[in-house]
């Protein structure tokens, strides 16, 4: 009986071993199924470029949706709206989108480097310089050298001044890469800006160099000759503008704003400042561009909204000028401008003004003409405008005020305008502080953004302590 029991126990043990052991041993490969079937572990350079080049347009628009209120192109229909009144708003989403694109561009750089795809590498560097420049000009010091590869979860902040060297370096490297002739891979429709036209990318690199060099206008580092030599290698025509294309499936983001406004999700209302700068109130000359840039009221007038005041008793539709479908800036498939021929002309005018007024004046007029032609103004209207005495002052009488005024109009909705505004100390004629201005600003205009909450909450030790009146290094 005892032996039988033992025998049975033994057989149970063997049975158990037979059942369990193979299962445990065999399970290793059975369990090796955690490779994500939905998302690849590598991405093709074409897909990375497609996303980064297209999203760069969205970044420009995202930032413009902040800066256009500071620069009083747009005004909120709601009273005391935080962007109108220059409140310290942590623009987390904008920061995220910029780093998202720069991260993809960093991966693109690595992969294009490995593949020796120099055209992809060059374009990646230019796009990075665009996004990095946008980021620096909003926030000053930002993470860069420790960023993008999660080597640390709390990346250190680099100085904005040092990063300005990085911008030039990225662009110089890009020019070398793109100028090197034969390419193993062809860039095509995956480039939503130039569809792979390398010459235009090189011109864009030079245009950006000029833009960033001009940013130094207040600093001892400023060198007008360097700006002009970069301009010489930049665009020759509106058609060369760096713009992002939009499609019926993915419409221009300003067109979305206009469309939403039609559906009473209010937005895209034009500031009184801009309307008065164009309707003769501020400068005594009526600008023919108004109907080509924004909409009119039910009564066929152009009426702006005062920044910070909201619409008051105006109804939600029909009484104020807003962005509308069908114009150059806000049609469904409108291109979105990053940097343009017209801007280059105004850069040239500003840089040449001190040393070569004739060149400056010529650039000034060409900048106006280029912008007017682009938005669709008829040639007789253009002629009338540029021969108006308030505009056609002659080379000798050209002032930086006039250049800045015209550049302000030609840079409608471009975030670069806020750099101009700060360089120019918001000295535009009749540009007054908004109603309900953030009282902590003491009547002054803001000079920068505060850092996003995602940074203060997750990288707090590295985030510089700033307020809205602290100036970036080039603004001092």
């Amino acid at each position: 009986m005892l032996t039988k029991m033992k025998y049975k126990n033994k057989s149970v043990a063997i049975l158990l071993a037979l059942v369990f052991l193979p299962m445990i041993n065999g399970c290793e490969s059975y369990l090796d199924i955690n490779k994500d079937p939905n998302n690849p572990t590598t991405a093709p350079i074409t897909g990375l470029l497609a996303h980064a080049s297209f999203e760069t347009g969205d970044n420009v628009q995202n930032i413009s949706n902040i800066t256009s209120y500071y620069m009083q192109y747009l005004a909120s229909p709601n009273a005391a709206s935080s962007s109108d009144t220059q409140e310290p708003v942590p623009y987390d989403q904008t920061w995220f989108e910029l780093y998202d694109v720069m991260t993809d561009l960093s991966d693109l750089e690595v992969q294009a480097g490995e593949l020796n795809a120099r055209n992809y590498l060059g374009i990646a560097k230019i796009l990075k310089a665009i996004n990095l420049g946008l980021t620096i000009d909003l926030w000053g010091n930002i993470p860069y050298t420790e960023a993008f590869f999660a080597e640390t979860l709390t990346p250190a902040y680099d100085s904005d001044q040092v990063l300005y060297d990085t911008l030039q370096q990225l662009l110089d490297e890009a020019i070398v890469m793109l100028g090197s002739g034969e390419f193993t891979f062809e860039v095509g429709n995956d480039d939503f800006i130039y569809e792979g036209d390398i010459d235009l990318w090189i011109k864009t690199a030079h245009a950006l160099k000029a833009r960033y060099l001009l940013h130094l206008s207040k600093t001892p580092e400023f060198n007008a000759a360097n700006v002009l030599s970069a301009i010489d290698k930049s665009y020759a025509d509106n058609v060369e503008d760096a713009t992002v294309s939009y499609f019926e499936e993915q419409i221009n983001p300003w067109a979305s704003v206009a469309q939403a406004n039609d559906a009473l999700i209010l937005g895209g209302w034009i500031s009184e400042q801009l309307v008065e700068a164009m309707d003769g109130t501020s400068y005594g000359v009526v600008d023919p561009r108004m109907p080509y840039m924004f909409g009119e009221t039910e009564n066929g007038e152009f009426v702006g909204t005062e920044n910070g005041a909201g619409r008051g008793d105006a109804p939600e539709q029909g009484a104020r000028s807003t962005l509308v479908l069908g114009t150059y800036y806000s049609s469904r498939t409108s291109p979105l401008e990053i940097i343009t021929y017209a801007e280059c002309k105004f850069i040239e005018a500003e840089a040449a003004l001190a040393t070569n007024p004739a060149r400056a004046y010529n650039a000034y007029l060409n900048g106006i003409i280029a912008h007017m032609e682009k938005v669709g103004v008829e040639s007789d209207e253009i002629q009338a405008y540029i021969s108006n005495p308030a505009v056609a002052v002659g080379a000798g009488a050209l002032t930086s005020d006039l250049i800045m005024k015209e550049k302000y109009l030609a840079m409608f909705l471009n975030p670069e305008s806020w750099v101009d505004g700060r360089r120019y100390d918001y000295n535009y004629k009749d540009m007054t502080a908004p109603q309900n201005l953030n009282p902590n600003l003491g009547g002054q205009f803001l000079r920068r953004l505060i850092y996003p909450e995602s940074e203060t909450q997750r990288n707090g030790l590295n985030v510089p302590n700033v307020n809205l009146l602290n100036r970036l290094w080039w603004d001092k």
Binding site: D32, N34, A50, Y99, A147
Partner: protein, 1033 residues
């Protein structure tokens, strides 16, 4: 032990009582078992007194009874307690029957083990078939509402087939996307209870998959709450388990059950609408304005147009919902085989027209006893479910835009286009913007049981749960008629195909060992395997070419997406139960899991549990009034793996692409980590249960604490890292609570019985830690106009579910505190110079979405064949964001906005501390003081302050009241019918709540989401009436 002490104790007691009483008489007799054996030590007590004695070794007794004694109570451990009329007898012999209830109260626990409730060291709640089906809830999750302590059921709304959420003992994960719901197990086989919401942005109120289970097929449900109870299930039941046992065939004649029920639904609660102002703005009369009700007084409009009037559109658009439930089951068997089969069909039309949900279920199960040593059984359940899930969010939204002086029910032009004065019509979208799901599901299992030896049993179970969920959404484009107002300028068709397959395999060995009369053990060891594979494919075709022809091939743009997932888990477990004298039970378990979702080095993890059950009434010699008493204690740990694909860095196809023929890729924002380790939850539980007076009164009290540590959560990181979240082990969440169940039978006579049961639950949780440097985790947020958007955010040190939003600024007499985190609503308002309250745009804590406590009370009265029962469900101290309220305020819909033309002085203080005295007008445009008030108080101020819409959503609900009648058997003697029951019942007909608006039990995230504080523009809740006929043959 009992033999030694109890008689002595009772003898003393007996003597004392005898001495104390006056007039007495004597009763004697013999107490025997069914077989006629004497029962020594049986207790004889005079009802309602302390007078009593016990039988001697021959089962005999002699008892002096007071003259007023009418009944004896005769009890013996393990036997049914009897009440015996004394009458004028002086000799009372009595035969006791074994008490199956008490000795053998069997509950189903983890792994489908049937265990004596007496032996368990943790809380288990059980519901029987009657409790499950009484409320006529087609969704088994809803059927549990209010009936189980520690369990929170939240219905996501009133749509047919809509999902319902179940949380046991609080939320356990800091991960906003985690499923905190328990595992559902049917007949030992885990099933899928996921809720797959519609992919587009309009919520459609889809089903949680457990809704496929037909409640009529359920025999009972056990709810396993703590980690000790679920230790054997391991990972998958880390949030508890709902163990469903379905009906089986029984030996004996074939029994046929036919049940037919018809029900009617209505919205149970409406907001209070204003009926005095019509379409327009600034008080102006209009018939084409966008604005639904900021216009002229309707009486003034009637001067212009006599037919101008108020339409109660929200009520008019709704219909009476209908439900039909038909069920037939056949069961029977002999000594060797039993079988059970059922067919059922449920059909429902919702209160919002065109919303439907149907379910057809066919079930077969059988059990074959091959020999004394071997038997096998199997079960197969086929379910077909689905319906048209109307875009309720859009319907309810457009209802709020639709002018109150226009008839919303008049929505269709003769040519089939939308009839409108300008705004979108809610009914037109309900009818034509369809979303139909069609689920075909097969749940099956097979069990083999082999008992080669007395002390050894081997069982094997294989189960599968397979379903396909096919969905088609059609948004029509223009039909090409003149001047039509289409829903969409392009239209689209979206086809979704979800296939999911679960396989579960369990091998179990049970080894019984009886060491001696008083000490025995049961050892179970087993191996468990789980394999889930799912594949979801969504194809969208945009812009129809030929109108009204809805086919993929007829669209101009095709987009598709795919999501695949596979998860495997292997577990080995052991469970040792030691039983000392049926009094002290000690249970050890251990389980090791190997999961596919963690990297090789971390995929294996072990966790133990120990629990103790101590039945102490026999040890402590408690008074006989205590029929049963037990102390429970348990400690358990449970591990939890990650969801699939969290261990790598990946790229994803960028949204918006393909575009212009190009694919876009972007680095995934979530950084996976190969270093992920399993999460750990440790839980501690103590319980005390007792019943008194022959089980007429009982309680069960439980205290628990559980700490979930090392959570696998995507923690937010600096975006400059190239990621927004890093999946890592971090954080701890603590849940603590008490559960109390009281039950009693205040009245029990032959003809009349009253049963009452109360359960009470209090759970509090704390986010103990998140991760160094990370302050908070956002769970979700919901849109509110101009800054009234409200968010649920987790912060270290705070409870789960805090709601953040904007508020009215308060006046602080001693200056505003620097770091203000929470709004104190009791403080006076700070009034601006313009006379209106100042808005505080800072995000303050303005509420919490977890209930402070919950309770359920059920009562059942039975008089002969008539049964009346009702269930009251209470949740207290819970806040929600009322998105309806926010929208209504923007459009002047509710009765409080009738003061729109009043001049008021807001209570509060100015910055300088003086009381506000400035009268202001609440209306729009020029006020009586000729000041311009713009769009007026409600649009300028009120709608933009979250505080106005985060409100107490406590409620007391009469979940169900049922009146049933069993026809007396004597009437059925000459028929083949064995039983007839007719019942009428009603759900949710009474609701007390401070909440304004529709039933507060509604949220827009669906059962799979954790942001339950947001009502969204949900499908309004309903009340229902049912008529049911049940025949048994």
């Amino acid at each position: 032990m009992k033999m030694k002490f109890t008689p002595l104790f009772l003898l003393v007691l007996c003597l004392a009582t005898t001495l104390a009483s006056g007039q007495t008489s004597q009763i004697s007799g013999k107490i025997t078992s069914e077989e006629g054996d004497p029962l020594p030590g049986a207790s004889i007590q005079v009802m309602g007194t302390m007078v009593g004695t016990v039988t001697n070794l021959d089962g005999k007794y002699v008892l002096e009874t007071p003259s007023y004694a009418t009944k004896l109570i005769i009890s013996y451990i393990g036997y049914e307690t009897a009440e015996v009329e004394i009458g004028d007898r002086s000799v009372i012999d009595y035969q006791l029957y074994p008490d199956i209830q008490q000795l053998g109260e069997i509950v189903v626990t983890a792994m489908g083990l049937e265990q004596e409730k007496r032996s368990l060291g943790y809380a288990v709640a059980e519901l029987g078939s009657k409790e499950i089906t009484q409320s006529k809830q087609p969704n088994v999750v809803n059927a549990l509402a209010g009936q189980v302590s520690g369990v929170q059921i939240t219905n996501s709304g009133g749509a047919p087939g809509m999902s319902s959420r179940i949380i046991i003992r609080g939320i356990t994960s800091l991960n906003p996307n985690a499923d905190n719901q328990p595992l559902f197990v049917v007949d030992g086989v885990p099933i899928d209870n996921s809720t797959s919401e519609s992919v587009d942005n309009t919520p459609r109120g889809l089903s949680n998959r457990a809704a496929d289970i037909n409640p009529n097929d359920i025999e009972n449900i056990s709810v396993l709450k703590g980690a000790a109870a679920t230790a054997l299930y391991g990972v998958r039941a880390a949030n508890g388990a709902v163990i469903i046992t379905t009906k089986k065939g029984k030996r004996g004649a074939v029994s046929i059950n036919v049940k037919s029920s018809v029900g009617f639904d209505q919205i149970n609660k409406y907001p209070d609408f204003q009926e005095q102002y019509g379409q327009g703005f600034s008080g102006d009369y209009s018939t084409d304005s966008f604005w639904p009700s900021w216009g002229a007084p309707i009486v003034a409009g009637q001067v212009i147009d006599p037919s101008y009037k108020f339409y109660d559109n929200t009520r008019n658009v709704m219909q009476t919902g209908k439900q039909f439930d038909n069920y037939i089951s056949v069961s029977g068997g002999d000594d060797y085989t039993t079988f059970f089969g059922s067919v059922s069909n449920f059909q429902q039309e919702g209160v919002i027209p065109f919303s439907t949900w149907d379910r057809t279920s066919v079930k077969l199960s059988g059990d074959v006893k091959v020999s004394d040593k071997f038997n096998f059984s199997g079960s197969l359940n086929y379910i077909k479910s689905g319906g048209d899930r109307v875009p309720h969010d859009r319907i309810m939204e457009t209802l709020m835009y639709w002018a109150v002086t226009q008839d919303a029910t008049d929505y269709l032009n003769p040519d089939g286009t939308q009839k409108t004065y300008g705004n979108s019509n809610p009914l037109y979208a309900a009818r034509f913007w369809t979303y139909e799901d069609d689920v075909n599901r097969m749940i099956g299992n097979i069990n083999l049981n082999y008992k080669p030896l007395d002390w050894l049993a081997i069982s094997y179970r294989l189960g599968t749960d397979y379903y396909s969920d096919q969905r088609t959404e059609i948004e029509p484009g223009p039909i090409g008629a003149e001047n039509e107002v289409p829903i969409s300028s392009t239209g689209f068709i979206e086809e979704t195909r979800i296939n999911s397959r679960d396989i579960n395999s369990t091998l179990n060995l049970t080894i019984n060992k009886k060491f001696n009369e008083r000490f025995s053990s049961i050892l179970r060891i087993g191996q468990d395997l789980f394999d889930r594979s799912s594949n979801s494919l969504v194809a969208t075709g945009n812009e129809f070419d030929i109108p009204l022809f809805y086919h993929m091939s007829n669209t101009k743009e095709l987009l598709n997406s795919q999501s695949k997932s596979q998860r495997r888990l292997i577990g080995v477990y052991g469970d040792l139960m030691l039983n000392f004298d049926d009094m002290l039970y000690l249970n050890f378990t251990g389980r090791n899991d190997w999961t596919s979702t963690l990297a090789k080095a971390n995929r294996s993890f072990f966790y133990p549990s120990v629990s103790l059950g101590f039945v102490f009434d026999e040890v402590l010699n408690l008074p006989t009034a205590v029929s049963y008493s037990k102390f429970r204690a348990s400690f358990a740990e449970v591990g939890k793996d990650a969801s699939p694909y969290q261990t790598a860095k990946t790229y994803e196809s960028a949204s918006g692409f393909p575009l212009n023929g190009e694919l876009g890729y972007t680095r995934s924002n979530v950084l996976g980590s190969p270093e992920l380790r399993p999460e750990r939850t440790t839980s501690l539980e103590f319980g005390l249960e007792a019943s008194f007076l022959q089980n007429r009164l009982g309680f069960d009290l439980t205290w628990y604490q559980s700490n979930s540590k090392d959570q696998i959560i995507p923690v937010p990181v600096s975006n400059a890292t190239g990621f927004t979240r890093l999946v890592t082990n971090a954080g701890e969440l603590e849940n603590k609570g008490i559960e109390l169940v009281l039950n009693g039978t205040p009245i029990s006579t032959l003809d009349f019985e009253w049963d009452i049961r109360l359960n009470f639950t209090r759970n509090s949780n704390t986010v103990v830690s998140i991760r160094e440097g990370i302050e908070s985790i956002p769970v979700g947020s919901q849109f509110g106009y101009v800054g009234a958007t409200t968010s649920m955010i987790l912060n270290e040190g705070d409870p789960y579910g805090n709601l953040y939003g904007t508020s009215y600024e308060r006046y602080y007499a001693d200056g505003k505190p620097e770091e203000l985190e929470e709004l104190d609503r009791d403080l006076p308002l700070l009034i601006d110079d313009d006379g209106f309250p100042t808005r505080n745009g800072d995000q303050l804590i303005i509420g919490n979405a977890q209930p402070k406590w919950m309770a359920g009370l059920s009562n059942s009265f039975t008089y002969k064949g008539i049964n009346l029962s009702f269930l009251i469900d209470v949740r207290y101290g819970i806040d929600q964001f009322d998105q309806y309220g926010n929208f209504y305020s923007a459009f002047g819909f509710l009765d409080y906005s009738l003061n729109r033309n009043d001049v008021v002085i807001f209570d509060g203080f100015l910055e300088n501390g003086s009381a506000n005295t400035k009268p202001v007008w609440l209306g729009q445009g020029l006020g009586p003081d000729y000041a311009n008030y713009g769009p007026g108080f409600y649009r300028n101020d009120y709608r933009g302050v979250s505080e106005n819409f985060v409100k107490d959503a406590s409620f007391i609900k009469l979940r169900n009241i049922t009146l049933g009648y069993d026809l007396p058997a004597s009437l059925l003697d000459s028929t083949p019918i064995k039983g007839v029951n007719f019942s009428i019942s009603a759900n949710n007909i009474l609701l007390w709540t401070p909440w304004k608006g529709f039933d507060p039990e509604s949220f827009s995230a669906g059962a799979s989401g954790n942001a339950t504080a947001f009502t969204g523009l949900g499908y309004p809740g309903v009340q229902s009436y049912f008529f049911t006929l049940n025949l048994t043959f």
